[in-house]
Amino acid sequence: MAEAMLAVDDLHAWYGESHILHGVKFNIAKGEVVTLLGRNGAGKTTTMKSIMGIVANRKGSIAFEGTETIGLASHKIARLGLAFCPEERGIFASLDVKENLMLPPQVAPGGLGIDTIFELFPNLRERLSSQGTKLSGGEQQMLAIGRILRTGAKLLLLDEPTEGLAPVIVQQIGATIRRLKKDGFTILLVEQNFRFAATVADRHYVMEHGHVVDEFANSDLDANMDKLHEYLGV
């Protein structure tokens, strides 16, 4: 396979005393959309937070475009061109929608313009002066994704972007992800909903108990359905 944009190898991470990740290994090529599937508590979110340096207590190797980031502070990692959209969305209550949208600083040239973001998420344009947390769940998710598209980051880490959203919003998020892929973004997606993941992703990794236990291409999803049901317990 082509040289990886992000290569994670033997990643261990801890929350306080508890050892959450036990040697996670996977990689993402430039332009790919890759998902991490797995049950609750498998370590998917911790993997993302370790990549971003939000979980600071981590060991192993995380290389982004050839740069080792395991020893870097969170803000330095972001400045290499990664951006994170957390599961809880992280919209700030003391900021209005416009301030939330404009908050993340530019880390590289070539981010989407504000008009393109409104084209993707027209609802945001109408709500610019609302308090961030007054938006609906779907609008908050759009804001959380929209604000990291401005920054010029080329690798997006999206943690369960469809969680708790109405089907029509889920479709809109799916269309956005496909559009972003076409625009050249590389995306790592954490999902519980593999039916949604199948509509956007190139490849899937399955996590269990802090390990990556399986990997398959999206085209092989049907052939692996039995295994997948067992992994996810659905």
Partner: protein
């Protein structure tokens, strides 16, 4: 002019002005505390000592280096702010993830040490600090005679308080600060150097205390205990306004200064306790404070 409620207007307005001055000091000090608590999660008990240090730096600049009041307004906040940054770098930063109590104990201990050192060096009697020549004398406003320096203190405090409020609530820099107060880890993951922002914020809050100390030096005497005296009242102001609210601490500071001044006119016996009475009442009715959000 006739008496108002049996009080000569000159006395009433005089006390009102004094209340406003005290209120200006309360507002600036509680503003600094609110900003520091918001971002650092630290109840900065050293604040009073840092206010006192500001006044002393002004005194030292004048008596040792011959640099007057205007220089002191500029230099004292920088020097004391740098001292604050040193404390943040070496000690406070290890406490952010712990309970408030640890930060409170550490900063209280530092306050005691700083006060002790100054008392050892300068004694407990106050040292005089002259009003700068440009602001001596007074102005007849018709209804009262206003000492120029007191007018200056009120005006400059209003400018500093609302300038700070504006920066925090209305600018890009302020949006980083507000966001980091809510979720520092996420803001840092966007590429903002939050640890540096925290350090500079502490430096700013401490510098603001020192600036207030310089303003206070010509009104009160410069004394090692001046901070210990005022900080207890300021904490009451913070509790009444609601911990962490920027506008709340400004309005509450000025408001309570005026309440205190009026009490001095109408019932002087209660003037030193009225703020604590207000605190008890507010805590009974609205435990999060007048402007605070329940956490």
């Amino acid at each position: 002019m006739p008496d108002i409620f049996g009080i000569p207007p000159q006395a009433l307005f005089g006390q009102l002005l004094l209340g406003l001055i005290n209120g200006a000091f309360y507002a600036q000090l509680s503003l600094g505390l609110a900003i520091i608590f918001g971002l650092l999660n630290i109840i900065n008990f050293t604040h009073g000592a840092q206010y006192m240090m500001g006044a002393f730096v002004a005194w030292m600049l004048l008596n040792w280096l011959g640099l007057g009041y205007w220089w002191a307004l500029l230099v004292a906040p920088v020097v004391v702010g740098a001292f604050g940054i040193l404390i943040e770098r070496t000690m406070l930063r290890h406490l952010y993830k712990l309970d408030h109590l640890y930060g409170l104990l550490l900063t209280f201990g530092i306050a005691l040490i700083v006060q002790g050192l100054f008392r050892d060096q300068f004694g407990s009697t106050g040292l005089p600090y002259r009003i700068p020549a440009e602001l001596r004398g007074g102005t007849d406003l018709g209804f009262m005679f206003m000492p120029n320096y007191r007018g200056w203190v009120v005006v400059v405090s209003l400018v500093v308080c609302f300038g700070t409020w504006f920066v925090i609530e209305k600018t890009k820099l302020g949006s980083y600060l507000r966001a980091a107060t809510e979720n520092p880890a996420l803001v840092q993951s966007f590429g903002v150097n939050v640890p540096r922002m925290v350090m500079l914020t502490y430096g700013f809050g401490v510098g603001l205390a020192a600036f207030t100390g310089v303003l206070a030096a010509p009104i009160y005497q410069v004394s090692p205990l001046m901070g210990a005296d005022i900080i207890i009242v300021v904490f009451a102001v913070v509790v009444i306004g609601g911990m962490g609210s920027i506008l709340g601490s400004i309005l509450t500071g000025f408001g309570l200064g005026i309440v205190e001044g009026l009490t001095k006119v109408f019932y002087p016996e209660a003037s030193s306790t009225v703020i604590f009475v207000v605190m008890v009442i507010v805590l009974l009715i609205k435990p999060a404070g007048l402007f605070g959000r329940a956490r």
